[in-house]
């Protein structure tokens, strides 16, 4: 059985496309065999007649009237459909979704939208990053490639192409840069000044630039080069270009170079280039404290020393440093080991250097020269780089989401051997909104800890998380906050030494 129902609204007009949309949704209702909402023009009525939708009521409609027609399996279905159609007719037009801003999908349209664009920041998955970088270089744009897992051959090809074009190819795996005061990727708000930085390490650049900034000086540019730039295969292409550029830059009065120990041939080339500069240069090849340098260069082996050197040579002070004895008194019996839990890879490396220098046995999942892996030295002090691939597969880097560290921090306090928990807190762009609060939340009550927590905060007061605010939150929770990562590691080493001596154990 089929029921045909017509309804006419006199003197009603609506755009035919809108009517078709309503017809379609009404036609799709259960039990409805056909539906049409049409203005009653002669042609429209003919169409409806052919479709078996026009009854006597509808025939009566004129060109200024709207016909609502439904053919349905039952009276009930027809009535429901008609009232639904009426409801849709009377509904105010929706503003429409997707009224949000439009984003370009390709580099070419982005360039049209941002005339004068001069840098492309690439953080797509590594397998796609090379193609994007090549597009950027071919369009005369500098590149900062945050992406990692890019084949070494691609890196070499991209850097050679950039070099030919006189463009800067920062990265792959470049986490940090500050160009003319603009922080890019994981970087901090640092006052502008005359110190130019070149770094193969992201957190290394962050630590040095913020130490400079918090000391009242400033940075002209901090150029990241990517973790592999100083490997033999890449040959330091970007490092050399960056030194060239900073050497020419009138706003840069001195240069600081930060890297893991480079390949010897690359180190030679870099130092040769350093020697051609008239500007004073501080060279920090982390952990290297003996190397022949040109006359205008000074060698330092850790990040703090690099900052100190750039700031004029004085030691960075720590006026309220607690005494080791006072700290040792709060540590539970038998607890002697340092558990270092780091978000910043280079900060972890620097801490290893400090412990090694203090004569302690150190292990790490990201060991610097002379340091064992935890497997090799299970009883040694253990400093973990939680940004390492083994921890970050399928989850965000701990700088973005420090909760990765939460369970390990909790576990450190339940480990009866751990007497010192050493951590870094990295703030700035890209980093978590309030990492100090996040850390404090997982600490046991101060009286029940049985271990000392020593931290440093990498950032400035101009960062949105606020250096002073983060330090305050940590101190309020009984955390010892050192003025630098190196200071923190040094204190941890001293304390561990004291605990070992008191416990009569020799590690």
């Amino acid at each position: 059985m089929t029921i045909l129902v017509n309804e006419v609204r006199r003197g009603f007009y609506m755009d035919s496309v809108a009517l078709m949309r309503i017809s379609r949704s009404v036609g799709a209702m259960p039990g409805v065999k056909g539906a049409a909402l049409m203005i009653g023009s002669v042609t429209n009525k003919a169409l409806m007649r052919d479709a078996g939708l026009l009854g006597a009521t509808g025939e009566d409609a004129g060109p200024n009237d709207l016909v609502l027609a439904v053919r349905a399996e039952s009276e009930e279905a027809a009535t429901t459909a008609l009232s639904s159609a009426a409801g849709l007719l009377d509904k105010p037009p929706s503003v429409g979704q997707g009224a949000s801003e439009w984003l370009p999908k390709t580099l070419d349209t982005a360039v049209q939208q941002l005339p004068g664009a001069n840098l492309v920041l690439i953080s797509v998955p590594g397998e796609f990053a090379t193609a994007e970088a090549r597009r950027a270089l071919r369009r005369g744009l500098n590149v900062l490639m945050f992406s990692d897992n890019v084949p070494l051959a691609d890196e070499v090809a991209l850097k050679q192409e950039a070099q030919q074009r006189g463009l800067l190819m920062m990265g792959p795996d470049c986490g940090t840069a500050i160009i003319g005061g603009t922080p890019l990727a994981f970087a901090n708000e640092v006052p502008r000044g005359s110190i130019g930085l070149v770094g193969a390490s992201g957190t290394g650049l962050q630590e040095v630039s913020t130490l400079i900034g918090r000391s009242g000086a400033g940075v002209s540019h901090a150029i990241g080069v990517g973790g592999r730039d100083l490997k033999e295969a890449v040959g330091g292409i970007t490092t050399l270009m960056a030194i060239d550029a900073l050497d020419r830059d009138p706003g840069t009065e001195q240069i600081v170079i930060i890297s893991k120990p480079p390949a010897p041939s690359v180190a030679k080339r870099v130092l040769q280039r350093v020697g051609e500069s008239r500007k004073p240069v501080t060279v920090c090849f982390l952990g290297v404290d003996d190397m022949a340098l040109p006359a205008n260069a000074v060698l330092v082996s850790d990040l703090r020393s690099a900052a100190e050197r750039a700031l004029g040579g004085g030691r960075l002070p720590w006026s309220d440093r607690p005494t080791v004895a006072a700290l040792a008194a709060t540590v539970g019996a038998g607890r002697q080991r340092i558990a270092g839990l780091f978000c910043g890879g280079t900060l972890c490396g620097e801490a290893q250097l400090m412990l090694r220098r203090a004569g302690l046995a150190v292990s790490s999942n990201a060991p610097v020269t002379g340091v064992a892996t935890p497997k090799e030295a299970p009883g040694a002090h253990r400093l973990l780089d939680l940004g390492d691939d083994e921890y970050t597969v399928g989850r965000p880097h701990p700088m973005i989401d420090p909760s990765l560290r939460d369970d390990m921090v909790r576990a450190a306090f339940t480990d009866p051997e751990v007497g010192v928990v050493l951590v870094d807190v990295v703030i700035g762009y890209g980093a978590h909104d309030d990492p100090a609060t996040d850390l404090v939340a997982v600490l046991p009550a101060a009286a029940e800890r049985g271990a000392v927590v020593i931290a440093s905060v990498c950032g400035t007061d101009q960062d949105r998380q606020g250096y002073a605010r983060q330090v305050g939150i940590l101190r309020d929770a009984g955390v010892v906050v050192a003025p630098s990562n190196a200071h923190a590691a040094e204190l941890a080493a001293e304390l561990a030494g004291a605990l070992a001596a008191a416990g009569g154990s020799s590690r």
Partner: protein
């Protein structure tokens, strides 16, 4: 940039420059046999890429049969089918003769064609006169009513409009279309504003050259919102043609469909067509019709998209986007923006008020289509699979990807880039 890449960039800029530099003027209405140079005898021009009688869809076969009777090459429709099937006429795409035609696009020597001259480049392009809605040849209509109307257009309407145009030295179209864009037309699915504008341009001259038939002629134009479509198509063909034949250009200079295949041609690969199966349009259907009633995509009208109108200019015409979505202005703008991802650049003379007077994205680059996976968006009428029943809805359709893949491969072969 590699040598070939920079040559392509330069060639594409030239193709874009030629499209933008066009000066299309509607100059005349003539019989096809007089207007179209070198049209061979007993030739039926059709929409889209080349196709044999055997592979033609129903509406196109039906229109062919009607055209054969109209031309007197067959005495009735049954005989016409026999003639067509036995090689008694020659089939060729409109595009091979600087022509275009909507839907079936059937053009024979005795029908009237609009003549658009591109005065910047000296070339001409042709398109039949829009017959109105319903039972018309472009939808496969072929009965006496259809043939009588064609005869009236060829014998009365065409000559009068031709005389009116010649009398006033033609109607320049670039500015008229620019105005249409600001009045809600995108010149493919919506031509209401430009139809009004051209009527206004022609009315006085028509009254003076053909007072006797004036009423019917004015009603013929004003009763059909799509009257201007065919003018826009001839205009677009006249604009696109000079951009064809530029070595190294990866710009698409033809897009057309015959109801069976979709075909494109590239500026730098000569006469070669790159084809794939014509798709079904997505959109809204008139009351009483279902998807199954629709014919696959057909017609040369996507020449409008080839020069930055139609789907490329969707933002100018929010009314049209209602056929495929909620009809929000932002949706319309989204279509236009996505077309800017695959085109060489905007046309600063054809601007859209809804996008702060940004120019319509113009000159589709086959490289960009393939690298982004964004296919050109074509606004289109959906025709009834049953011949002569007319339009059953409207929507959007994309060319099949394989057209662009073939085009790129041929480009690479021709330019030694493999």
């Amino acid at each position: 940039m590699t040598d070939i890449a920079s040559r392509i960039e330069a060639a594409n800029r030239e193709a874009h420059r030629r499209m933008l530099g066009a000066d299309p003027v509607l100059v005349d209405v003539m019989l096809a046999r007089d207007a179209i140079p070198n049209l061979p005898p007993r030739t039926v021009l059709h929409a889209g890429p080349p196709i044999s009688w055997e592979r033609m869809c129903g509406p196109m076969r039906s229109a062919v049969a009607g055209a054969l009777v109209f031309e007197g090459w067959a005495s009735d429709l049954a005989e016409a089918e026999t003639v067509a099937a036995s090689g008694g006429v020659r089939f060729e795409p409109n595009h091979h003769y600087d022509g275009v035609g909507p839907m079936t696009g059937i053009t024979t020597p005795g029908v009237a064609v609009l003549v658009v001259e591109n005065r910047a480049f000296g070339n001409r392009a042709f398109c039949t006169v829009n017959e109105g809605m319903g039972n018309v040849m472009r939808f496969g209509g072929n009965d006496q009513e259809v043939r009588d109307r064609l005869a009236w257009i060829a014998g009365v309407f065409g000559p009068a409009v031709g005389a009116a145009l010649r009398r006033r030295g033609g109607v320049p179209l670039k500015g008229l279309i620019a105005r249409g864009l600001t009045m809600g037309d995108e010149m493919h699915m919506r031509n209401a504003a430009c139809t009004g504008l051209i009527l206004r341009e022609l009315a006085a001259d028509l009254a003076e050259v053909a007072p006797a038939d004036l009423g019917r002629m004015l009603r013929f134009i004003s009763g059909n919102d799509m009257f201007f479509l065919n003018i826009a198509m001839a205009m677009a063909k006249a604009v696109a043609a000079p951009a064809h034949g530029i070595p190294y250009a990866t710009v698409v200079t033809t897009m057309a469909r015959n109801g069976t295949d979709f075909g494109i041609r590239l500026s730098s690969t000569g006469d070669a067509w790159f084809t794939g199966p014509a798709q079904m349009a997505r959109g809204l259907l008139f009351a009483g019709f279902t998807e199954a009633d629709g014919n696959p995509d057909i017609g040369d009208s996507c020449i409008t998209e080839t020069v930055g109108l139609g789907g490329c200019a969707m933002a100018a015409s929010p009314a049209v986007v209602g056929f495929v979505g909620a009809g929000a202005l932002s949706d319309a703008i989204g279509y236009t923006r996505s077309m800017s991802e695959i085109t060489v650049g905007p046309n600063p003379e054809w601007t859209m008020p809804t996008m702060a007077m940004a120019g319509v994205p113009t000159a589709i680059d086959v490289r960009k289509v393939l690298s982004t996976g964004i296919l050109p968006v074509i606004n289109t009428a959906i025709t009834n699979r049953q011949p002569g029943r007319g339009q059953i809805g409207a929507g959007i359709v994309n060319p099949p990807l394989e057209c662009f893949q073939q085009a790129l491969m041929r480009f690479a072969e021709v330019h030694g880039a493999l």
